[in-house]
C-alpha cells in the first residue's frame, strides 16, 4: 500500500513538473533546398542541424500558411511538403522555426507543371452585330494539371471559322491570360472558335453574328376595294428589311406605321418582321379620305411616304319623318354596287329647335340598309325642329314637327 502511494505520488510529481527546457543550443549547419521546382513533384527540404530538439517548418504561399513537422534522422531533418504547397505554383515562402527563433528562411519558386495543360476560355458577348466594327473578346487562361496558371509568354493557338473561312493565329499570355478581339463579318452567321495550348484540347466556342440595324425600306398596301365603307381591312407591308450588308434583319424587328388622314389625325399600327417583312392592318375609314402612310423602325430606318385614297361609298340617301309615330327613318342606304351598305355603319342624328339651337344628339347603326330613331322618347316639347343625319361624311337635313299629345 505504501509502495503504491509512493508510486502514485511520484507519478503525480512528474505529472506536475514543468516540461524540461528544450535544448536551446540547436544550430543549423547546412541546408539543401531547391531554388525552383516544378509543381507536383516530390519536394523535400533537408536541414542539417546540431544539438537536440526538433524545429518546425512554416510554409506560406498565395493561398495560405501552414506549419509542418519533419522527420529527424541523426543530424538531418527532412520536411516533405504537403500537396497544397508542392502543387501550387508561385513563390513558396518557408521559415525554419525552433522555439521563438527563426533558424533560416527563404523562398522556393514553384513553376507550373508541364503535363496536361488545359485552357479555360471565356468568350463574351456571345451575340454581336454584322459589320466589321462590333466584336467579342476571347479570354484564354491556360493552366496546368493542378490549376496553376501557366507563366507569361505561353503561346496558344486560336482557330476560327466564320462564314466558311478558316483562320488560325498565335496568342501569348500576359499576366495570367491571353486575350483577343474577334471582329464580326459582314454576313450574319455563326462563328466557331477553339483555343489550345500545346498538348491540350479545347471546347467549342461559338458566337452569333446578327444582322446589323436595317437601312431605309419601301412600303406597299393591299386592299379589297378602294371604298371608305368602314368595313374592310387594308394591309400595309414593308419590303424585306435589310441591313447595310444585305442581311435580312432579325425576326421580330418592330415596325411602326404612321397614318395621317386628311383631318391631320395620326393613326398608328405596328407589326414585327418575319423574314424581314412586317405587316400591319387597319380598318377602312367610313368616309372618303386620303391617307399618307409612312413606316419606321424607330430611330433607325424609315420608308418614304405613300398615299392611299378612299372613295365615298354613296352619294345620297333618304330620310323620312313619320309624324304619327314620331319616328325618323333613314334609308335605304346603298353602297357602290347599289347593295345595302354593310351593317354597323354609324349614323349620327342631330336635332335643333326653331332657333337652330342643338337640343339632342343621337347615334345609331345601319342594319340591313336602314336606321330608325324614335324621337318621341326624347321628351321634347311640341314644336318645329330640324334634323340633320350624317352617314359616312354625307349629311341630309329635313325639318319636322313634333306633336306631343301626351305632354299637353
Amino acid at each position: 500500500m505504501r509502495k503504491l502511494t509512493f508510486i502514485l505520488l511520484c507519478v503525480f510529481a512528474f505529472g506536475c513538473s514543468r516540461p524540461v527546457e528544450t535544448n536551446q543550443s540547436l544550430r543549423l549547419v547546412s541546408l539543401n533546398i531547391p531554388e525552383t521546382a516544378a509543381a507536383g513533384g516530390e519536394m523535400a527540404f533537408e536541414f542539417h542541424i546540431s544539438g537536440g530538439g526538433m524545429p518546425v517548418l512554416l510554409l506560406r504561399n498565395a493561398l495560405g500558411q501552414t506549419v509542418i513537422d519533419g522527420k529527424r534522422d541523426a543530424e538531418e531533418v527532412i520536411f516533405r511538403l504537403p500537396s497544397s504547397f508542392k502543387e501550387k505554383s508561385g513563390p513558396c515562402h518557408w521559415s525554419l522555426i525552433y522555439g521563438d527563433s527563426t533558424l533560416a528562411s527563404g523562398v522556393v519558386h514553384i513553376t507550373p507543371s508541364e503535363i496536361e495543360p488545359r485552357v479555360e476560355t471565356y468568350l463574351g458577348p456571345g451575340n454581336i452585330m454584322a459589320g466589321r466594327t462590333d466584336h467579342t473578346i476571347l479570354v484564354a487562361v491556360p493552366s496546368d494539371v493542378y490549376g496553376n496558371p501557366l507563366p507569361d509568354g505561353t503561346s496558344l493557338t486560336l482557330r476560327k471559322q466564320v462564314a466558311g473561312v478558316l483562320e488560325s493565329e498565335g496568342l501569348n499570355t500576359n499576366s495570367l491570360f491571353a486575350w483577343k478581339r474577334v471582329y464580326s463579318e459582314e454576313r450574319a452567321t455563326r462563328g466557331f472558335l477553339s483555343v489550345i495550348a500545346e498538348g491540350s484540347h479545347s471546347k467549342e466556342l461559338t458566337f452569333d453574328i446578327h444582322p446589323a440595324a436595317p437601312v431605309d425600306f419601301e412600303i406597299s398596301y393591299s386592299r379589297n376595294h378602294s371604298y371608305a365603307d368602314g368595313n374592310q381591312v387594308i394591309t400595309f407591308s414593308t419590303s424585306v428589311l435589310k441591313d447595310p450588308y444585305n442581311n435580312t434583319v432579325s425576326d421580330g424587328t418592330l415596325v411602326s406605321f404612321l397614318i395621317t388622314n386628311s383631318g391631320g389625325k395620326i393613326l398608328r399600327a405596328q407589326g414585327t418582321t418575319i423574314h424581314g417583312i412586317a405587316t400591319a392592318r387597319m380598318l377602312h375609314p367610313d368616309r372618303a379620305d386620303q391617307w399618307i402612310v409612312r413606316a419606321l423602325v424607330e430611330g433607325i430606318a424609315t420608308s418614304p411616304e405613300i398615299q392611299v385614297e378612299f372613295l365615298p361609298v354613296m352619294r345620297s340617301f333618304s330620310v323620312k319623318w313619320n309624324a304619327s309615330t314620331s319616328h325618323l327613318d333613314v334609308g335605304p342606304v346603298e353602297s357602290f354596287l347599289k347593295q345595302f351598305q354593310p351593317d354597323g355603319l354609324r349614323v349620327i342624328l342631330k336635332v335643333t329647335d326653331e332657333q337652330n339651337i342643338p337640343v339632342a344628339e343621337l347615334s345609331g347603326e345601319l342594319s340591313v340598309g336602314y336606321a330608325r330613331f324614335d324621337l318621341g322618347q326624347l321628351g321634347l316639347p311640341s314644336g318645329k325642329y330640324g334634323a340633320s343625319v350624317e352617314i359616312g361624311g354625307i349629311t341630309k337635313e329635313i325639318p319636322f314637327e313634333l306633336k306631343n299629345e301626351e305632354l299637353e
Binding site: L63, G64, Q65, T66, V67, I68, S84, V107, Y122, S175
Partner: protein, 510 residues
C-alpha cells in the same frame, strides 16, 4: 404571550402566503414576457438586415485603364466589396479551420484548394490569423461582357500570426503583391485565380526624425470638464465652459492639455460627425489661448483582435485626417495605459496592434509625434523604438519617483520622456481611514514637482478638477476605488483652489 405567538404565526403565514403568490405571479410574468419577446413580426418577411462591413482595410484603385472595357463605378464598387470580403472570409476560415462562407467568394476549383489547406491545418492543429491593412489594386483587364476582371493588388500590407495549438509560431508584418482574377457568377464576384507576384521590395519603415515640437517644453495637465468627466464630447458638451477652463489653465502658466477620445462613443470605424465637430471646437478653443493638445485615441477600446484591426484603422484615419492640420495639435497618444490589457488580451496581441497603429497614423500624419501613455514607468520600456517619445504615468509614492525614473532611463537610451499622468488624491474618508487631506496632497505635489524639475522632465498632471461622479467604466464600481478617484483635482468641486493648486502654480512660474 400565547396571543403574541398566535399573532406572530398569523403574520408569518400571511407574509409567506403573499410571498408565494408574488413569486408565482413573477414566474408567470417572466414566462409571459419570454413568450412575447424575441422575433418581431417583421422577421416573417426575412428582410435582410443592415449589414455593416467589419473588414475595412484601406483600399485605393490606382489605375482603371484597361484594353477590355471601361470600368463602371458601380461595378468597381461591387468588385472591391467582394474582393475584400474574399479576404475576410478567408481570414475567418483560416482562424477557425472551417471553410464556411468561402463558396460565396471563391470559385469551385479555388475553394477546393483552400479546403484542402484548411483540412491540413486542422489535422496539424495549425491556426492562421491574418488581416490585410492596405490594398493598392491596378486594373489589368475587364472583359467586354463585364463578367471577368483581372487586377494586380500591389504591395498589400498585411499581418499574419501562425499558431500551433496554443503556441504562436510566427507573427509577421508582410508586404506582398497578388494577381487576382475574379469572375461574376450568380451575382457574386468570385476569385478564380489568386497568384502571388514575387517582389523583393523591402518594407519601408518610417523614420522618427521629423518631430518639430520640442516635447521637453510640455507643462500641462490631463483635462476633463468638471461636470462631465470621461464624457467631454457627449451631449452636455459646452464650449463656453471649456474656453473658461482653458483660460484658467493658461493663466496657471501651463502650455499643454491631454484629452481622451473614446473609441466606441465616437462611433468606432464610422466616426460620428457631431462628436468630431465638438473635438474640433475644443481644439479651436485651445488654439485660442495657445494651448497644445495631446490627443489620446482609443479610450476604452479593448478588443485588439486581428479581425478588428481594420475597423480601428478607419477610426484613426478619420480622426487623424481631420486634426492633422490643426495648429493646436501636439501629437498623438495611441492609447491610454494599454499595458493594463496585457493580461486579458495577451501582451503580444496588444503590442502588435499598437505597432501597426503607429504605422497607420504615421502614414496619414508623418509630422506629429506619436507616443503611448503607459500606466507605469516599468511598462514604458515597451515599443521604445516605435514611439517618438516615451510617455508614462506615475501614481506611486513620490519619494520613489526618481529611482524608478533612473531605472527606466537605463532601458530606453536617449528617448525623451514625458510623465503624462501623475497626481494625488486629497480624499479623506472611511476607505482610507481618514488619512488623506489637502495638505498631504499638496505635500506630495511639492515632492513631485521638485523631482520633475530636478530631472528636467516635462509633465501632465492629473487633473484640474475634483469630480462628483466617476463612471464605473473608469475604476470599477467599488466605492473604495471610486471615492479617492473623485478628489484628484487641484480645484475642488465648488471651484475653490486647493492647496496643491498653489504648489503647482508656484513651481511652474518660478
Amino acid at each position: 404571550m400565547k396571543n403574541w405567538n398566535k399573532n406572530i404565526y398569523r403574520v408569518l403565514l400571511l407574509f409567506s402566503f403573499i410571498g408565494i403568490n408574488a413569486a408565482i405571479l413573477f414566474g408567470i410574468g417572466a414566462v409571459w414576457v419570454y413568450m412575447n419577446s424575441g422575433a418581431d413580426k417583421a422577421s416573417i418577411l426575412h428582410l435582410s438586415g443592415e449589414t455593416e462591413d467589419n473588414y475595412l482595410p484601406d483600399i485605393e484603385w490606382m489605375d482603371l485603364e484597361n484594353p477590355g472595357r471601361p470600368m463602371e463605378p458601380q461595378t468597381l464598387q461591387e468588385i472591391e466589396k467582394d474582393y475584400l470580403r474574399s479576404w475576410y472570409v478567408r481570414a475567418i476560415a483560416f482562424d477557425s479551420n472551417d471553410p464556411y462562407g468561402l463558396e460565396d467568394y471563391y470559385t469551385d476549383s479555388l475553394r477546393q484548394k483552400l479546403a484542402t489547406l484548411l483540412e491540413l491545418n486542422k489535422a496539424n492543429g495549425t491556426r492562421v490569423r491574418l488581416s490585410t491593412i492596405s490594398h493598392r489594386p491596378t486594373l489589368e483587364f475587364y472583359s467586354l461582357d463585364g463578367k471577368m476582371v483581372v487586377f494586380t493588388d500591389e504591395d498589400v500590407a498585411w499581418y499574419s500570426e501562425v499558431w500551433q495549438g496554443e503556441k504562436r509560431v510566427q507573427s509577421a508584418a508582410l508586404t506582398s503583391s497578388f494577381r487576382v482574377m475574379m469572375l461574376l457568377e450568380d451575382g457574386f464576384w468570385r476569385v478564380r485565380h489568386f497568384e502571388e507576384v514575387f517582389n523583393k521590395r523591402e518594407q519601408v519603415i518610417l523614420g522618427n526624425d521629423q518631430i518639430h515640437f520640442k516635447v521637453n517644453e510640455v507643462k500641462g495637465l490631463n483635462y476633463y470638464p468638471a461636470k462631465t468627466p470621461w464624457n467631454t464630447f457627449g451631449d452636455d458638451f459646452d464650449g463656453e465652459v471649456i474656453r473658461e477652463d482653458f483660460r484658467k489653465i493658461k493663466s496657471m502658466g501651463l502650455n499643454t492639455i491631454r484629452i481622451f477620445v473614446p473609441y466606441e462613443e465616437f462611433g468606432g470605424p464610422r466616426v460620428e460627425e457631431e462628436r468630431l465637430q465638438r473635438l474640433e471646437r475644443l481644439m479651436d478653443h485651445a488654439e485660442g489661448v495657445q494651448l497644445k493638445v495631446l490627443v489620446t485615441l482609443f479610450d476604452f477600446y479593448g478588443n485588439y483582435d486581428l479581425l478588428d484591426w481594420t475597423r480601428t484603422h478607419r477610426h484613426a484615419e478619420t480622426l487623424v485626417k481631420a486634426l492633422r492640420d490643426h495648429p493646436a495639435l501636439l501629437g498623438w497618444d495611441i492609447k491610454n495605459e494599454p499595458d493594463l490589457d496585457f493580461d486579458d488580451r495577451g501582451k503580444e496581441e496588444v503590442l502588435a496592434w499598437l505597432r501597426e497603429m503607429i504605422r497607420q497614423i504615421k502614414k496619414y500624419d508623418p509630422d506629429h509625434p506619436i507616443t503611448i501613455g503607459w500606466s507605469s514607468l516599468a511598462a514604458a520600456s515597451n515599443l521604445v523604438e516605435e514611439v517618438d517619445y516615451i510617455s508614462c504615468h506615475f501614481y506611486g509614492d513620490p519619494d520613489n519617483f526618481v529611482p524608478s525614473y533612473k531605472a527606466l532611463l537605463e532601458k530606453i537610451g536617449n528617448k525623451e520622456v514625458v510623465i503624462s499622468e501623475f497626481g494625488f488624491s486629497s480624499y479623506s474618508g472611511f476607505w482610507n481611514f481618514f488619512t488623506g487631506s489637502e495638505e498631504s496632497q499638496a505635500a506630495n505635489y511639492q515632492i513631485m514637482v521638485t523631482a520633475l524639475k530636478g530631472q528636467e522632465l516635462p509633465f501632465l498632471s492629473w487633473t484640474l478638477y475634483d469630480f462628483n461622479e466617476i463612471p464605473k467604466s473608469v475604476v470599477g464600481r467599488y466605492p473604495w476605488r471610486k471615492a479617492p478617484q473623485r478628489f484628484y483635482g487641484i480645484i475642488d468641486s465648488k471651484g475653490r483652489e486647493k492647496t496643491a493648486y498653489g504648489v503647482m502654480v508656484q513651481s511652474i512660474q518660478k
